[in-house]
């Protein structure tokens, strides 16, 4: 396993963790204003996986994701302002206002699209990898998926093909224990390790603490190196926890599908706070640097929201464009 990241990388990880957290919390704070008129699935509590991607994958690598994709888009280098504008339904949004929070894209950053049907982008990511293999590049196709998505038939069909063809696919599974309000126990047999399922199909796998950004970085660094050397598909299962409600801006531990105690236990392992404390302890950062980092991020996020809010809505006629490519 790769050693822990050097000081520079670990500081970058902290930046990405904090930035994703800040963006998601700002969406949550402003959502009740009623100007972001689309469903939002926030990743507060799950930032470590996307933060590790930010420093592990290259810009020319490609990624796809699902409904809970803000963090993945940002981790892959997607344009922040264009994402916020998209959530506000603006013309400057990354999908021109057609897609909203659940349909993000930034091709310049290698983020090829996130969609709202669970499992829908899994084969798409494999198809991207097929293209990579045929053109002989050393790119990697990263597929973000949840613990729910591995219940879909298309996951098995796609993984089988990726293994069969030894495609450069990195499956990044965030196991946050729930699919909407349904715990794993009601969906999968007790004691199952999801990574074992992927291993049985022939992927190389690793599991780890998805709240420990350095551990995620380490697993991912090894997987990426192997992938570039032609290993064929990797499947990473990373244990984490969503803090907010499945869809929307609020906490929902009171509605009865999970316990406050469980939430608190995970919150105590806050990926952002834990990494920050660790870096301070190591002397890699100090309080003044943290304050500067926070201020920078606050400024960037405030600017993105201001730009998104000031941006024009698309012309009504834009609803009836883009159906087909070409004339």
């Amino acid at each position: 396993m790769s050693a822990r990241p050097d000081a520079g990388v670990s500081r970058d990880l902290l930046y990405h963790l904090k930035r994703i957290r800040r963006v998601e919390l700002e969406i949550a704070r402003r959502y009740p204003e009623g100007a972001m008129r689309c469903p939002v699935h926030l990743s507060v509590g799950q930032e470590a996986v996307a933060a590790a991607v930010a420093v592990t994958l290259r810009r020319e690598d490609l990624a796809v994701s699902g409904h809970r994709a803000h963090a993945h888009y940002l981790g892959k280098g997607g344009d922040l302002t264009a994402m916020i504008a998209e959530i506000y339904g603006k013309a400057t949004g990354c999908s021109g206002g057609k897609g909203g929070s659940m349909h993000l894209i930034d091709e310049a950053a290698g983020f090829m699209g996130s969609t709202a049907i669970v499992g829908g982008t899994i084969p798409v990511g494999v198809g991207l990898a097929l293209g990579m293999k045929q053109t002989g590049t050393d790119q990697i196709s990263c597929i973000f998926l949840g613990d729910g998505a591995i219940e879909a038939g298309v996951f098995y069909e796609s993984l089988n093909f990726a293994v069969l063809k030894r495609l450069p696919v990195l499956f990044v599974c965030e196991n946050n224990l729930y699919s909407v309000y349904t715990p794993l126990a009601k969906r999968q047999p007790a004691g199952r390790c999801i990574a074992d399922v992927a291993a049985a199909i022939g992927a190389r796998t690793a599991s780890g603490d998805g709240n420990d950004v350095e551990q995620v970085w380490s697993l991912m660094t090894d997987a990426v190196a192997a992938l570039r050397a032609g290993s064929g598909p990797w499947f990473l299962e990373l244990a984490t926890y969503r803090w907010l409600e499945h869809c929307g801006p609020f906490y929902d531990n009171d509605i009865g599908y999970r316990s406050e105690a469980e939430f608190r236990a995970w919150q105590a392992r806050d990926p952002v706070a834990c990494h920050q404390a660790r870096l301070i302890e190591r002397g890699v950062i100090d309080a003044a640097m943290v304050a500067r980092l926070d201020a920078d991020i606050d400024g960037e996020v405030a600017q993105a929201f201001a730009a998104a809010e000031a941006a024009p809505f698309p012309e009504p006629g834009a609803a009836f464009t883009d159906l087909y490519a070409g004339p």
Partner: protein, 351 residues
């Protein structure tokens, strides 16, 4: 009679079905979760147990085929999807197995499976959470398709669907869930394949379904205030379709306007216009018309959906044009008090 919401009426129907027939089971994503599929399945697991009312893995295709198998064994499964769009993963099982089984094995065994699919709209539901694909399902021989518009019909049609011996696609619109209406108490069924006349008039026949019926009611009452009496037919069933009621109405009115919640091309509205053109060509005094959703996916931004769905004022305009009678629909449009992308002030997102 009780005043219930559409969602509560569905809950009532499920409760009755589970009570009177031990073969009924009820499952689908979120069936037993705290939100209970917008309240439609609330309390059912507590009352009937986890063997009969249960959640499922995120595996729509398999869970549909499992419903087919369970139905073949003798159960009466009711499968629920929080969005029709999710059920698209199960088209193979619906079309190749559920719809065909009785036919392709020479009528040996029926598939009494009910599949509820909820259709979204507005609040950025966007391209993949808002599709109204009744025409697809109605196109498949072997399926029955129903689309209630009122709370009473939601209950009565769901009971009929569950106790029908065939696969029934039960399409329920998210925007109707909070609408209240009169609901008969007990096991009162609304027959499949029968439309209902909601307003009587001789000037024009308006055919609608689901939310379009609600929209049409506003238009028809406004038209009545302007001296135009329209016949409003709420389809209730898309397949089988109540041709007799539509044809008889057109015979009287000579004019046909069909409203549809789905895209225009290949729509149920198109099928109705075609069928009436064949059956009642000589009854028609004017070219029939369809009002449907444009041939584009629904975009997410509220700025892109303002004119996407058919609105009451458009219905008035279409009727005025067909009757060649000027009627100003602006006052009707002005009555709308909530933003166009929500069903009412009660809806604040996100789903």
């Amino acid at each position: 009679m009780a005043q219930l919401t559409f969602a509560a009426a569905i809950n009532d129907a499920l409760r009755i079905a589970l009570t009177i027939d031990p073969r009924v089971i009820c499952y689908g994503l979120g069936t037993d979760d705290p939100k209970g599929v917008f309240g439609t399945t609330a309390g059912l697991q507590a009352q009937f147990g986890a063997e009969r009312v249960f959640d499922m893995p995120t595996a729509e295709n398999a869970m549909t085929g499992i419903g087919v198998g369970a139905a073949l064994y003798g159960l009466r499964p009711v499968l629920t999807h929080q969005r029709l769009d999710f059920a698209l993963l199960s088209l193979d099982q619906i079309v190749n197995n559920a719809a065909k089984w009785h036919f392709m094995f020479g009528g040996r065994r029926a598939v009494p499976l009910t599949i509820r699919m909820i259709m979204g709209r507005g609040w950025g539901q966007g391209p993949t959470h808002s599709q109204n694909l009744q025409a697809w399902f109605a196109h498949i021989p072997g399926l029955k398709v129903v689309m209630p518009a009122t709370a009473g019909d939601a209950k009565g049609l769901l009971l009929s669907a569950i106790f029908d011996d065939n696969p029934v696609i039960f399409l329920e619109h998210r925007w109707l869930h909070n609408l209240k209406g009169e609901v008969a108490e007990g096991d009162v069924r609304v027959p499949l394949g029968r439309a209902q006349r909601l307003r009587r008039g001789d000037a024009i026949t308006i055919v609608a379904m689901s939310t379009m019926t609600a929209e049409a009611l506003h238009a028809v009452d406004f038209l009545a205030d302007h001296g135009v009496a329209a016949d409003l037919i709420d389809l209730r069933s898309i397949r089988p379709l109540d041709w007799d009621m539509i044809a008889a109405s057109v015979k009287r009115t000579g004019r046909l306007l069909v409203l549809d919640t789905g895209s225009l091309t290949g729509s149920v509205a198109g099928e109705i216009v075609a069928g009436i053109a064949e059956r009642g060509w000589n009854d028609l005094q004017a070219a029939p018309r369809r009002l449907a959703v444009p041939d584009f996916p629904e975009a997410t931004s509220p700025a892109l959906t303002r004119t996407y769905h058919v609105r009451a004022e458009q219905i008035v305009d279409a009727v005025a044009a067909m009757l060649q009678r000027p009627i100003d629909s602006a006052p009707l449009a002005a009555r709308r008090t909530h933003p166009h992308d929500v069903p009412g002030a009660w809806f604040t997102g996100p789903f």
